[in-house]
């Protein structure tokens, strides 16, 4: 029983930390209270649902329950949040989809992509282009088309990966990320050139949903809340699939490839197929995230999907914990509130906000954290928490 109390102690400490951080970065006290309550309820729900017994016998049900709890609580919470927090939350949730794809690519197959910003861009632009040419297509279908396009691009770029070892894939994705702007520009009659594209109409809740719940249902009243809710639901589904994929035969095969590719080949896993699959999954997830960004912002601009975005994506997933699912969630939250956090640091340290140092603080802090994380805690925050958790639990057993 002491093991349990030790676990609860760690969990409590993490929760308190999360609450403190949410008070620092949130726009208002009301948001912070709501966010803290949401975190508490999710934690409690997840803890009760995932009793070891259920997790061992019916893992898929446990995962579905976990995703559903998280999504439902988050949906309810969006009602209490201000529009700013809703927007940040949606941005972070879409980003966490991208991150979990990258996390899978690295954690499962040991490859890395430095071009995820560009893959997001593929999804984002396909979404906008399709919506401009076929305004009546339902959102879900458009999202599906964007994902398919991202998967196709990932497949084409991933083909050489079947024959490559080492860092070539990373270099190639980097080249893609740097080239992406020029590629967009080459097709500027489709992509709208430097100005980007606007969606033809703001995504509003469909009529059948309104007639089902009534017009005054809180979640359906404003478009921001509605878009946030779509994003959250999609995120929940994406994470549910990813959790299953991690644990599936394919996922386990890929982890074997990461640890020892010769052994993997000897037990009959096809290396080329597994490598390309991992890469296609990662790029499809990235373009889903990008498509959601287009939906949230109601527009898309080429200046968003630069090489800097790809590097930021890599930073937040590494800091959150690359190769883990929790790490992707942490990374998404870090991304959503990084701007607030940096400006808080700027104001606390009394730097001139227009100065050179303040404008570069983002890069210095994220780059530095990236190096420190890789050198001292390669699994990031998620890995650290897990490590502390396990050593505490082990120590308390007599």
């Amino acid at each position: 029983m002491r093991a349990l109390s030790a676990r609860l102690g760690v969990a409590g400490a993490v929760l308190v930390l999360a609450v403190i951080i949410s008070f620092i970065v949130m726009a208002s006290v009301r948001d912070a209270v709501a966010m803290s309550l949401a975190i508490l309820v999710v934690a409690a729900g997840v803890a009760t649902i995932t009793t070891p017994g259920l997790r061992a016998t019916h893992p898929v049900i446990a995962r579905a329950a976990m995703s559903t709890t998280a999504v439902v609580v988050a949906l309810v919470a969006t009602f209490y949040f201000s529009a700013t927090t809703d927007y940040n939350l949606a941005t972070g949730a879409a980003m966490s989809i991208v991150l979990v794809g990258l996390s899978f690519l690295t954690g499962a197959s040991g490859q890395i992509s430095l071009g995820n910003g560009a893959f997001m861009g593929v999804g984002a632009f396909i979404m906008a282009i399709w919506a401009n040419h076929h305004a009546t297509t339902p959102i879900v279908v458009t999202l599906g088309i964007s994902v398919a396009a991202g998967a196709l691009v990932g497949f084409l770029l991933g083909l050489p990966a079947t024959r490559l070892r080492g860092p070539y894939l990373a270099g190639m994705t980097l080249a893609f990320a740097v080239a992406f702007g020029a590629i967009l520009n080459s097709f500027n009659s489709w992509t709208g050139g430097d100005g980007g594209l606007q969606l033809p109409n703001v995504a509003a809740p469909p009529h059948w949903l309104i007639s089902l719940f009534g017009r005054s249902t809180p979640l359906l009243t404003t478009n921001t809340a509605w878009l946030t809710d779509i994003t959250l639901v999609v995120t929940g589904v994406a994470f549910f699939f990813m959790a299953n994929l991690f644990a599936s035969r394919t996922g386990r095969g890929m982890r074997l490839i990461r640890d020892n590719d010769v052994a993997a080949e000897l037990v009959g896993i096809s290396l080329p197929r597994a490598r390309v699959t991992a890469f296609v999954v990662a790029s499809a997830y990235a373009s889903l995230g990008g498509a959601l960004w287009t939906l949230i912002n109601n527009s898309v601009s080429p200046s968003t999907y630069t090489f800097a975005l790809s590097i930021t994506i890599l930073s937040v997933i590494v800091i959150g914990g690359i190769g883990t699912i929790t790490g992707a969630l942490i990374g998404g939250l870090i991304y959503a509130y990084s701007t607030n956090l940096i400006s808080w640091i700027t104001s606390q340290t009394g730097l001139n906000p227009q100065g050179n140092l303040a404008s570069q603080l983002n890069g210095i802090i994220f780059g530095g954290l990236l190096i420190l994380t890789m050198l001292f805690a390669p699994l990031g925050i998620a890995g650290l928490v897990r490590h502390v958790w396990r050593t505490r639990a082990r120590r308390s057993v007599p």
Binding site: T106, G110, Q111, I112, L114, L156, L157, L159, P160, R163, L164, R165, G166, P167, Y168, A170, G171, M172, L174, A175, F176, V178, A179, A182, I183, N185, S186, R258, V262, F307, I311, L314, S315, V318, I322, N356, L357, S359, Q360, L361, N362, G363, I364, F366, G367, G368, L369, L370, I371, M374, L375, P378
Partner: protein, 300 residues
């Protein structure tokens, strides 16, 4: 009047070679690090960029052009050695993504710190040579004092590196420790020191390249991101030529410079990155180890 020298094709060829030696030098610096430590250094553009800022912007207040060049290269040497000792050494034997991520982090830090100290706007460098093209019968040839200086410097650097590897005792030790570290260690080669020297050489080559790149009127001076695009072309050249092969890297670099110059002239300048990417994908599909590397069997 010699219309041949001023014709479009010859202009493109000369311009391509001028650009290509730069890609070749970047590729060479990547190959030097790859051969000594098996790491693809994603900060290979940023480290020399920083050294160039120190040498050509900070020291330019006190000295003339040539002392500043020497100081830049010296800073590059120090930066390369420090990076290898502090950031890279703990990563040997770790999964191969760890050094990639660390060097990407280092790239971000260096670019941000450089922008924080010297601002993100361009600094024009002193240039001892004119960049105005020679004239022949009223038409420009795609050559100037500066491009001759550029090509000459590139050739000099390549010759020096080749001579170092081929004719000196140090070069022999470098090759030995890259080929068979354990045997070399038993024979008394200080392998750790050789790895550091590999990084020093690579950053030195990179710094010379960066000074040339930042002096070109095309880039309008030194910025923290000046090497990003050049790095990508250099990487593609190194990958096409084979990361194991210095000669392959240089040949691929020059070849790519020429091809891309023709693409710029006959298609448009937006297409060059796309074409470079296609070259990379196709060549990796056909020859995964690069055109100039022998195919190797992997030991199990």
């Amino acid at each position: 009047m010699d219309p041949f020298l001023t014709s479009r094709i010859v202009s493109d060829l000369l311009g391509g070679v001028t650009q290509g030696v730069i890609y070749g030098l970047v590729a060479l610096s990547l190959v030097l690090v790859w051969r000594s430590t098996g790491i693809l250094n994603f900060a290979q553009g940023a480290m020399p960029m920083f050294a160039t800022y120190v040498g050509m912007v900070f020291f330019a207040k006190f000295f003339g052009y040539w002392p500043c060049v020497a100081l830049s290269i010296l800073t590059g040497f120090v930066l390369g050695a420090t990076t290898e000792r502090v950031l890279v050494r703990p990563l040997y034997g770790k999964p191969e993504i760890n050094p990639i991520v660390v060097m990407v982090g280092f790239l971000i830090v260096l670019e941000s710190v450089a922008a924080a100290i010297w601002s993100s706007g361009p600094h024009s460098l002193l240039s001892p040579f004119s960049q105005v093209d020679f004239q022949l019968g009223g038409k420009p040839i795609a050559l100037s004092d500066f491009t001759l200086y550029e090509i000459g410097t590139a050739l000099l650097v390549m010759t020096l590196v080749a001579a170092l590897f081929r004719f000196t005792n140090l070069g022999l030790q470098l090759r030995a420790s890259a080929l068979a570290p354990e045997v070399s260690r038993l024979l008394g080669v200080r392998v750790g020191r050789m790895l550091t020297i590999g990084w020093i050489l690579s950053t030195g080559v990179g710094t010379v390249t960066t000074i040339l790149v930042a002096s070109k009127s095309f880039f309008q001076g030194l910025t923290p991101q000046v090497m990003d695009g050049v790095f990508v072309f250099g990487f593609i050249a190194a990958a096409v030529g084979g990361l194991e092969s210095p000669v392959g890297a240089i040949v691929a670099g020059v070849g790519m410079g020429i091809i891309l110059q023709f693409v710029t002239d006959y298609v448009n300048s937006n297409a060059i990155l796309l074409v470079a990417l296609v070259i990379l994908v196709v060549s990796l599909m056909l020859r995964p180890n690069g055109i100039f590397s022998p195919s190797t069997a992997r030991r199990v």
